[in-house]
Amino acid sequence: MRKNSTEGLFHIGKTLPYLRAEVRIAVLLVTFLTISIHSFGQRTISGKVSSGNETLAGVTINEKGTGNSTFSDVNGRYTIRVQGTSPTLVFTFVGFETQEIVAGDRTEINVSLTESATSLDEVVIIGYGQAKKSDLTGSVSSMNAESIQRANKTNAFQAMQGQVAGVNLQMTDNKPGGAFNVRIRGSNTINSGESIENAGYTAGQNPLYIVDGIFVNDISFLNPADIDQMDILKDASATAIYGSRGTNGVVIIKTKGGAKGRLSVSYDNYFGTKQAYNLPDMLQGAEFVEYFKDAVVGLQWAGGNMDFGREDVDLSKYMRPNELANINANKYTDWIKLVNQPGFQTNHTVGLSGGTENTTFGLGMAYTKDEGTFEGEAFERYTMRANVNSRILPNVTLGYTNYIALSTRDEGSKEGLRSAYRLRPTGSPYDDNGNPQFFPLQGESFITNPLFEADNWVNQTRVLNYLGNISLEITPLSNLKFTSNFSPNVEFTRLGEYRGRYSKATSGNQQNTRAVVNNRNRMSYTWDNILNYNWTINPENNLNATFVYSQFYDRYENYNMERRNFSTDQYLFYNLGAGSVLQSATSGFSKQTLESYTGRLNYSHKGKYLLTLTGRYDGSSILAANNKWAFFPSAAIAWRIVEEDFMKDQNAFSDLKVRLSYGQTGNNGTGGGLSPLASLSLIGSNFTNIGDQVIQTAFISGLANQDLTWERTKEWNFGVDFGLLKNRITGTLDIYSRLNSDIIFFRPVPTATGYSGVFDNVGEATNKGVEFAVTSKNINTGDFRWTTSLNFAANRNKITQLYGGVDEILFGVQGGSYIHRVGHPIGSIYTWEFDGIWQLDELEEARKVGQLPGQVKVKDIDNNGVINADDRTVIGSALPKWTGGITNTLDYKNFDFSFFVYTSQGARSNSYFHISHSGGFDATPGRFNSLKTNYWTPDNPSNDWYQPSNNGPYAGALQYPDVSYVKVGYITLGYSLNQNFLDKIRVKSARLYVTGQNPFTFTDYVGFDPETAVRNSYASAHMTRTWMGGVNIKF
């Protein structure tokens, strides 16, 4: 007996060599306590736990009805002392069916566990707690480590993209390290301050992200391979516990933690090469010259000179000798090809985990590099995580988690790619000696050679992100638990920018060289105190109550300095003092806080009738003084029909549950762009010059709205969870109806008032939708398995009421024209409707509305023969009509093959590409290259596109194309090495794979990427695909 226990002790000491001394002492102490308690056991049972031909380590073996337990070791072996004469052993392991075995008088019991056929025992994090999936009453979608790993993305957002019904992601930027915006169940509100740089969205409407209990604004700093589980809380009942913070949905992420058992080490990597694709078809070579002539003609036609034809065009009047020489020599430059280059991508992730009965730990390190397809663009990230969880006393558990990420994002030039799209193919990138020339077109001194950009424009953001969480869990009674989580988040960001002498922005002028350094730091913390009481009233009735008091504090500072006129480009932005002109030095501060009291009650009757009640009383600092506090209740019921007696005799359903929930959440306005202090009327300040003195000025910077109050969301959700044919097919269907009232929006007021608008509660809107997810094990024979997962979501957004006696609010965002109109989606596109091109035989008709043949024709909506502002109409919305994704996984023997396709359908978007790179009017005809279009000429009576340089006043009607797409997210082929072989070299598993990331896109949209259509081509990048290969090894 003693021998056994020393062995165990030794074993622990040996397998935890990396634990810090204190932890080891704690481990030893706890182990010692455990030993001393159990050292008078009566006999031992030992054996081996396996699954198929794989041994299982870390399986918990418990003597039923007692506290005796142990776990299996590296070889799957276990030994347990038992007290009963005929004990029952319970074998539990995550992801496997629990087995109970009556030991009788056996001393050796070998067990083979089977993988859980159902995912019902999966634990889902539900906010301030966790629940079995089968007990959920709200709408929650989960992604596990496996599906995240399969997606194999560089960014945690990308891993989610298209995989979860009702979650829409939008990239803001195709450059490496670009940000994402996430919309769960449609748009709640719209921010009129949205910018093209953010692809039309701001972060304010993004869901709440919680990483290991820590509230963060962004999850792009995470290494996806570190993620163990992502749970997306969608309906108001699930999110209600987060009150105002959960109104846009909640994404809860658990990073890989420790697991009981021997030390486990994993190493994953990939290497890949990235290419730009789906490039817009620009005019190249001689085609451009033809277009150019048509533009010269178009300019004459626009002025009414319809006798002017192509034969009248004298190129030598418009083009410089070097261009004419290039044309004669048939020497053209495809600028886009010239600047495109492959990018390199790699990732290395090392993870360790292990633990004893009472202490578990996990740690990991990772490196990611992701290069762009324009020279100078790159993203690099180092991450380190560590967590330890220890039961320091029988009823006290202490946990500490931290995650550190250091990322460097080189955005490169913001102008380079745009210049490549603007420059005429008739220019010369190199001079006669083969050196790049700064101005490749002699007649164009504004657009410069993009080959200079990488060396002359540095734009680098370094972010150090630290997440910590100390959690103390006290269990004074077996059914009472108190948890206090203190979670700080510190983020230091440094943006450094240098524009050297030969960038487009400086156009060769030393005086315009500039260095900018912007330092920002954010320090926030969340402090949650949770009291949980679990009361098993009797075997049939269980009550679980949770109370939470929570504080959130967020403090932000920024410092910005710019100097100009550097005599050398040597320093970049590291020597601000070397610039002779101090351009600006500014700083800023903001703080916001939230405070809340929350309660939740879960009641379960016979495990088939489930009830959840939640209430949260929330206070927000940024709302007006009298409206800071609000209460958000929710309720949900679920009925596990499959547990009913009348279901016992059927075979079709292996699981069936219906859920109904109702809840309210609130939004304190950040989604509408409300920032701290915005409900106050503040005094701004400038400096002006009177008498050459520095005179300070004061102005009232905005209108105050002392009545501003919470935006509220009320949501009904009806859901069905089902399993068919012994869970060969499992799925979830949710139907919801969400009403947002008191929507906070920056309502425009006439500028004549001196202000552009005011934050106001403007009206009400509904989001109604359906979400469907199903997983089917189509084939499941020994060697061959084929699984298909499919998700689908459709959302209809509609404004039902606007306050203040109006039925519409018109507004503009970055050159786009939008409307909130009752009966239409929020922020619908409101403009003239394209109706073809005015043709030659319509001359008289065209003249009546002040137009000419060749120009864009729009519909006369009010049919009064005049085209004016009254003829604008709702032509669509940026919200997709439906989205979906499908994943297929095929395993044959050691091979695995999977591919994932997702789609977004029915959205229209303001397309910057159509505005800027498609041949719009310019006083200088054909000054910039253009998209290849079927444009109108006197000989080509097209109805698709206007005559170059004769677009007419309503060409804007062409700038809102449909941006539907189908994208293949990945295609992966993997091979797992033979287990017998691996066992010999003590490797648990090893897999090699090749994958194509984002390999194909199908869309009618022309432009860089339908997802980022609204984005300005300034600072933009192409869509890319990556081909890569890698290994996954576990020891």
């Binding site: 105190n529 002006t688 010059n689 520095v694 004061a698 004549a752 202000y755």
Partner: protein, 530 residues
């Protein structure tokens, strides 16, 4: 026991959640409650009107385009909303800027005026002067608005709650308000402010004379508008005599002299210069694509508008203003060995009278005859003698979209304009002799010997003289509109307007920005024709 401990813990928590936690902390800006306790805050509110006046005095597009002497910088083909009056719509950016810039100025003035009653500790003298300055700028803003847009919302109080249902007051009411403000301003501001650049009584008189002169043409004119305008102009002229040397006046060194009535100052200190003056960018073409030329701190870049060919024909031989206003020869700033150009060589020359083909062929440099300014020559689309009047040598060359950073004063009112106002007012009041005196005073300073007799003075003569005297300084569009000559002279002399023949009577009012109508919920109506 443990339960008790927990109870104590929660009680402690409840205590920590004191009220302060949700208080906003404001470090980045002041609120009215804080700042208006300090009397100096009033000076700051007034100073903001000076700051915003920079934008209200640089609405070049609506002031210059589509007139007899300025047009867009493109070949004579195609269309342009604002210059050519083709499809001019309420979405035009320049029109919207004009509206916004002037109302922005008015809002700052309204805030100063209204808050003066709330700020404690103000001395009467400071208050009177500040109110005078604010009302001067408010009048300036409304004068621009009423001439550009006609009836406009008359907002004379600080807007403190979200107000959308604005309505337009007719032109007469707006003029009444402008003149009331100017009378208050005249009483409030100082005769000779100690600080250069501060609004003086003469600045108010100057503006008032122009406002009265303008109203004199209207149906709601006052009985003595023209004579009152003349009298005020005379008062200004008496204290702001013409500077002896027109050329010296328009150098950076000579920009401050007694002729100046009011200037908006920028200066070289980046703190106060901010975005900077942009006048030095006016009326320039893409000269830098010629060999030996570069995007330099001498010639700077073009803003777009170009003078019309007609403008150049106005200068008589010997008019000193011509050389001070335009540059007929551009010299190389860079050597270009390939094309044999040395620094200082002539690169482009614009002879005043056409050279023969033979003479042109004999030159190494580009020669552009009058009449070829709007014809593409294989290097540039258009080319013309560029303005030099506002040159700000040494100020960085900046790209479009980047702050121009000009340092020079923007002279808004000067004795020369007062002479023209006086001449026009006398002409309309029937005193042609006095009108001739003022015109001739300008011509004498310009070094011309031909003088006008009383009988020769017409509105066209005054407008021609104004074109040369004030080129780029004042709103040509408003001058032409006031005198009823816009349609006639633009059609006759603006090549693009003539090409498109779209200018109609209704264009004498600009379209009300549609975004304003949208935001008003429809209470604002649109001008006819749009």
């Amino acid at each position: 026991m443990k339960k008790n401990l927990l109870a104590i813990f929660f009680a402690a928590l409840a205590l920590t959640s004191c009220k302060d936690f949700l208080e906003e902390e404001n470090r980045q800006s002041l609120t009215g409650n804080e700042i208006f306790k300090d009397p100096s805050s009033f000076d700051q509110l007034v100073a903001e009107t000076y700051y915003r006046a920079r934008w209200a005095t640089s609405t070049y597009d609506v002031d210059q385009l589509g007139t007899d002497i300025y047009t867009r910088g493109g070949i004579v083909a195609g269309i342009d909303e604002l210059n050519d009056y083709v499809n001019l719509r309420p979405f035009n950016g320049s029109v919207i800027s004009s509206w916004n810039n002037n109302y922005g100025l008015i809002a700052a003035a309204n805030a100063a005026i209204d808050r003066s009653a709330e700020i404690t500790g103000l001395t009467e003298a400071v208050k009177a002067r500040g109110l005078g300055e604010a009302k001067f700028f408010r009048a300036y803003g409304y004068f621009n608005l009423v001439e550009q847009f006609g009836a406009v919302p008359l907002i004379v109080n600080e807007v403190r709650t979200a107000q959308t249902d604005l309505t337009r007051s007719d032109e007469g009411q707006v003029y009444t308000q402008i003149l009331k403000d100017l009378d208050d301003a005249l009483a409030g501001v100082e005769e000779s402010p100690a600080l250069y650049g501060r609004v003086s009584k003469d600045a108010v008189r100057h503006l008032k004379s122009k406002v009265l002169l303008t109203r004199g043409y209207k149906s709601f004119k006052g009985a003595s508008d023209f004579t009152d305008a003349a009298a005020l102009a005379e008062a200004v002229i008496s204290k702001h005599p013409l500077a002896a040397d027109f050329g010296a006046f328009f150098t950076k060194a000579g920009q401050r002299n007694p002729e100046v009535v009011f200037s908006v100052l920028y200066g070289s200190n980046p703190v106060t210069r901010r975005e900077g003056n942009s006048r030095h960018l006016l009326f320039k073409f893409s000269y830098d694509v010629y060999p030996g030329m570069t995007r330099s701190t001498l010639y700077h870049r073009g803003l777009g508008p170009a003078p019309t060919p007609f403008f150049y024909t106005l200068f008589e031989e010997g008019d000193k203003r011509e050389a001070a206003t335009i540059r007929r020869t551009l010299l190389a700033e860079l050597a270009d060995a390939e094309r044999g150009v040395k620094v200082g060589d002539t690169v482009i020359h614009f002879p005043k009278t056409a050279w023969s083909a033979q003479e042109i062929a004999s030159k190494k440099y580009t020669v552009v005859n009058p009449g070829s300014y709007f014809t593409p020559n294989g290097t540039t689309q258009i080319q013309y003698p560029m303005f030099r009047k506002f040159d700000d040598a040494g100020v960085p060359y900046t790209n479009p979209g980047i702050n121009p950073e000009g340092e020079r004063d923007a002279v808004i009112m000067r004795g020369g304009e007062a002479r023209l106002i006086a001449a026009e007012a006398y002409l309309n009041a029937g005193d042609k002799a006095k009108a001739a005196t003022h015109i001739n005073a300008l011509r004498t300073r310009a070094g011309l010997s031909k003088m006008y007799t009383a009988d020769e003075v017409t509105l066209d003569v005054i407008l021609d003289e104004g074109a040369k005297e004030l080129a780029g300084e004042v709103s040509r569009w408003m001058d032409l509109k006031r005198t009823g000559k816009l349609m006639e002279r633009a059609m006759a002399h603006n090549p693009h307007v003539a090409l498109n023949k779209a200018l109609k009577e209704f264009h004498l009012l600009r379209p009300i920005p549609n975004s304003e109508i949208d935001a008003s919920g429809g209470t604002l109506d649109q001008n006819t024709g749009y």
